[in-house]
Amino acid sequence: LWNKETFDFLLGHMHSAASKEMGLYLISGYNLFTEPVPDPSWKNIVLGFRNLTPKELELFPGYSYGWFNTALMLEGRSYLPWLTNRLTQRGVKFFHKKVESFQELFSQGVDVVLNCSGMRSGDLQPDPELQPGRGQIIKVQAPWVKHFIITHNLKSGIYNSPYIIPGTEFTVLGGIYQHGNWSEENNAKDHKSVWDSCCRLLPALQEAKIVDEWSGLRPARHSVRLERESIRLGNLQAEVIHNYGHGGFGITIHWGCAMAAARLFGSILQEKKQLATAPGPRL
């Protein structure tokens, strides 16, 4: 549901001139498998979903089955500033500081905290289910690549198989997922694995210029933590809405999650209003 809500929301923005500013654009591409698999649950959410033809599979030796569809790309580099602008226009204030605890915020008079602290949520409230899903990517200049190519290896698991994703300026090569690894340092073995496997997938990449390399930690959890928590602080009841643990698919479901978090916020507001208008205690 969150996936569909997010896709539909973004698709609605596609036909406006703002899409460039948002970093939003349509892109088609390939999902590749070494054996037939059932259609994904999102097949009717994306555009033009179909299976690959034998001729298309000739492009990808080693893969015997696959999907083609048109999807959306949302570049964070542009999207975050766009969101920031919209929030600023609505009077939202931004503070660049490290929050040490929820208590710290409530003691400053905050009524509701929306906890979107991603990978570091554990620092605010221990959560053993939240683990890093370490990824490493190589950014190259390969402007002739117009499609995304995502391979799947049912044995090695998701994100652990090569993928090639063209952006507006660079193309990202990836295929690393290491559960439990907190290192944000680039690793030479991972680099070689990504480079070799992506060049095998798309031989022309051998001529691509490497412009950057980066490691990051996907905030992985068996399910997204999207729930309300009431915290007792002395004689006060403080409200926290958690919205973290989106692993490698945060952008894909972000809007649906945001709306769900907003609904939780709405019910908090409702309760507070009812408390405020409730008749006082009868003596």
Binding site: E21, Y25, T53, L59, T70, T168, E169
Partner: protein, 341 residues
């Protein structure tokens, strides 16, 4: 004839690919390319180079389909190799949309491009003024890279290339055994072909790297073709116009038409305007001819008149022209051995 001397007139996509095919089918030939223009100043350099065939009214469909199939297969292999980026060949997916459902069911090339199918209702929502559409994946040849890649391969095969304006094919008679005429629009003057006419095309080449898909209006007057570094926006099809100067009003019209198909293009930067004259004809002229003057004979192979479909069929027509060159050589060898008797 130990080493036939072949002159290819014209250095656009047709001239260069024909020369290359000749070096491949006749390794003993000495091939020279003569042209008054080379990349980046040929008509081919203006074209987007999309493999979406133009239908020639007087060429049998099976022949056009064979040309397209050979071209697609040839480029498909390059796009899948390490040379793809140098050659400027890449796959691109997208949509062809129609304001009213076209009468001609499936185009003849629908089973050659990849994944051809009708657009879904959801996809058509993006184009509110359009009733029907086709989605497919095809290839694009970016120029100059493709022409420069062809030149590089020609040089490696020992082909000489000279900037020279040939005013009359007979000029070449004393230096060459066979002449191949790939002069495109130049054939109008060069061989006096009055069936050849220009179809003027103006295009904009813009910086819009977020556009990854092609969009084409079935009427051919609005198209968005993403290339390696620039997106080609078009276009016009002005039959009979020889005007090579960009027109400002036309630029605005093209830009507006394309922005209504893809609103994000409003943010496109760095707009470059170009004009090319499509060397158009009711049928592509791929044909042998023997010119005579006095007692002298000059075998000629013509390969021109590709109009709006040059890139789509270039390799197929080049193969056919190279085959005709082979026939010319056999004929010359036969007549020279007869002369010895």
């Amino acid at each position: 004839m130990a080493s036939p001397k072949v002159a290819v007139v014209g250095a656009g996509v047709i001239g260069l690919s024909t020369a290359l095919c000749i070096t491949e089918t006749c390794p003993s030939c000495s091939v020279t390319v003569l042209s008054d223009q080379f990349s980046p100043n040929t008509t081919s350099d203006v074209a987007a180079g999309m493999l979406i065939p133009h239908t020639y009214p007087d060429t049998p469909i099976h022949r056009q389909k064979q040309w397209f199939k050979e071209t697609f297969t040839y480029l498909f292999a390059i796009s899948n190799s390490a040379e793809a980026s140098e050659a400027g060949i890449h796959l691109v997916s997208g949509w062809q949309v129609f304001k009213s459902t076209p009468k001609e069911g499936l185009p003849f090339w629908s089973d050659i491009v990849l994944g051809f199918r009708a657009m879904s209702e959801a996809e058509l929502l993006k184009f509110p003024q359009y009733q029907f559409g086709q989605a497919f994946t095809t290839l694009k040849c970016d120029c100059p890279p493709y022409l420069l890649w062809l030149e590089k391969r020609l040089k490696a095969a020992g082909t000489q290339m000279y900037t020279r304006k040939v005013a009359d094919l007979w000029e070449l008679h004393s230096e060459y055994d066979i002449v191949v005429n790939c002069a495109g629009m130049g054939a109008y003057q060069l061989v006096g072909d009055k069936q050849l006419f220009p179809v003027r095309g103006q295009v904009l080449k813009v910086h819009a790297p977020w556009v990854k898909q092609f969009i084409r209006d079935g009427d051919g007057l609005a198209y968005i073709y993403p290339g390696i570094h620039r997106v080609t926006l078009g276009g016009t099809r002005e039959k009979g116009s020889w005007n090579l100067c960009p027109d400002a009003g036309t630029t605005k019209d093209i830009f507006d038409r394309c922005c209504s198909l893809e609103p994000s293009l409003q943010g496109a930067q760095d707009i470059e305007v170009k004009v090319g004259l499509r060397p158009s004809r009711q049928s592509v002229r791929v044909q042998r001819e023997v010119l005579s003057q006095g007692g002298a004979k000059l075998p000629v192979v013509h390969n021109y008149g590709h109009g709006a479909g040059g890139f789509s069929v270039h390799r197929g027509t080049a193969n056919e022209a190279a085959h005709l060159v082979g026939e010319c050589i056999s004929a010359l060898q036969a007549s020279s051995s007869r002369a010895k008797l």
